[in-house]
Subunit: 329 residues, 2 copies
Amino acid sequence: MTTITEIAAALGVTPSTVSRALSGSPRVKEATRKAVEQKAAEFGYERNVVASNLRRGRSDIVGIVVPRIHREFFSNVIGGAEAVLNEAGYNVLICQTHERYEDEVKALQTLRNNRVAGVLMSHAIGSSDGSHITSILGQNIPLVQFDRVFSKLPGTKIVSNNFEGAYQATRHLLQQGFRRIGTLAGYMNSEAYAQRLEGYRKALKDSGLEPSAQIEFLDTIVRETGYDACKKALAAGCDALYSAGDFSALGAIDALKEQSISHFGIVGTANESFTALMSPAMSSLALNPYEMGCQAAQAFIDGAQDGEKVVPMELKIRESSNFNITWQK
Amino acid sequence: MTTITEIAAALGVTPSTVSRALSGSPRVKEATRKAVEQKAAEFGYERNVVASNLRRGRSDIVGIVVPRIHREFFSNVIGGAEAVLNEAGYNVLICQTHERYEDEVKALQTLRNNRVAGVLMSHAIGSSDGSHITSILGQNIPLVQFDRVFSKLPGTKIVSNNFEGAYQATRHLLQQGFRRIGTLAGYMNSEAYAQRLEGYRKALKDSGLEPSAQIEFLDTIVRETGYDACKKALAAGCDALYSAGDFSALGAIDALKEQSISHFGIVGTANESFTALMSPAMSSLALNPYEMGCQAAQAFIDGAQDGEKVVPMELKIRESSNFNITWQK
DNA sequence: TTGTAAGCGTTATCAA
DNA sequence: TTGATAACGCTTACAA
């Protein structure tokens, strides 16, 4: 592979000049620049980014850490972030944590070892406080968190208006005529889930209903636990569920169909594409992952100042929250 | 950040010794190694991978190039590859091409500039022959292709048994009683799609039916074109469609539901998770993305020898291929 | 078993 | 405007 030294030799100048010419420095005569560019093209030169990064003490790689890449939400966040970052000349290195604390530590160490320019991340469920994050990344690697954030940590946080969204979703169920509304809540070490639970409770209170721990099913984010929790909700006399996730809502629907229940409303969260394709189609509180990814990337580019940016959620009303629904296989 | 020079100074040895001690060379006294490791831990030392890579002339990053990361198929391939690669000490850099030739060229250049250890890729639809791939990567960067492959290129190819799979899918429709079976075919510059078309044709011939260009709808892989093609298929008297993709099959179902058609069979390809969640649930020819990712990664680790590995497909039979089906909104 | 010295390819600083 | 020189942090012949 061609190096700037070879180009310099071919032109009878020094590597410094070639380097300056190729990196757009103004301290090069126009004619020299032309000559250098021509030779570079002729030799098929490509800058050795590794050497350049070592010398400059920084890299053009931004790490993205997510629990699971195949979740639509996260792959869309990545898509948005990638678009903005590529545009700005950065590359993206993706790590999955599989919701495990140990994998998250490993991923962050990998990124630090590669001296990445910055990290965009959404923490694992298994990661119960963010102290490891700052201690691994140190002062030099800017951090932007999105969706699942630890608000104590420095850097920008991109979040959804979880409280407001859950409030609206629950109120929608109330307006439809449902009266005993339970919730499939997530893990309370995640602020996003905690806020959704609060929004749900507030909506009940504002309608004169008292929240009850008996119908708040915590740690319920997958299909299986959604199924189990829905059976308990039925036993507890619920006639609707606001679920803080789509997959748990899907599990709940499994239970409803199994028993051919009527007049039982469901609203999920995340608007995974299957929600619109199922039938009856599932109402869901849509996050805005692509936009969140763009904003996270932009926040990094802008310097990852401390602070929070809120991306709105939008309630998608479909059949599962219709009062007259009948669930059938 | 601590360097080996600092550790060396603190211990009164040279950086070479520290380097050897930390990289597990046998040419270090056991006591020295202990001392070095202790100091390294004390200083919180982490090897500067960038410098190490520059010196050794290689990196521990493997590039993965896919058309779109949010397609379940690809995110699962990435998941499988990542698992195997991380285990072997590699990191993964992911690039999307958005099905565009230009983006594919850019991605490959980026990977080359970063001197990645290897590339795993599935080419874009817009990329009609693979010459740019080898010309950008050159001799030094091993290539493993998966799913959409150019068989002329060197390196390992991981493919599905597309011919056999499409044959089975079509035969299944015939066995159900459908008689005039069309196909939503993909782009013929992709060998995977071309093979599926051949498998489909062979199944017809083996049942004494003559393939007809009139009911082979080429370049049809998204929902919208699937919808349009299905209308034409209905006009052409078809009573079933084998679709080489799930999204086009979904579009076809849109058309069927719109007209409340009965006795019209559909089999898709890829087994995207929505296929099982819709109702009626869609029969689909399942690829095995996670396994393909694992095999691609393993092939790279094993040296990306020329050759082809075939990962079996599996037909998932659901309601959409039942002869008595009635499509309703 | 350890040290010496050179170099991976680039860029920053200083001097000319 | 260009050149000389050093350095980024690490690895590896070779020598001791």
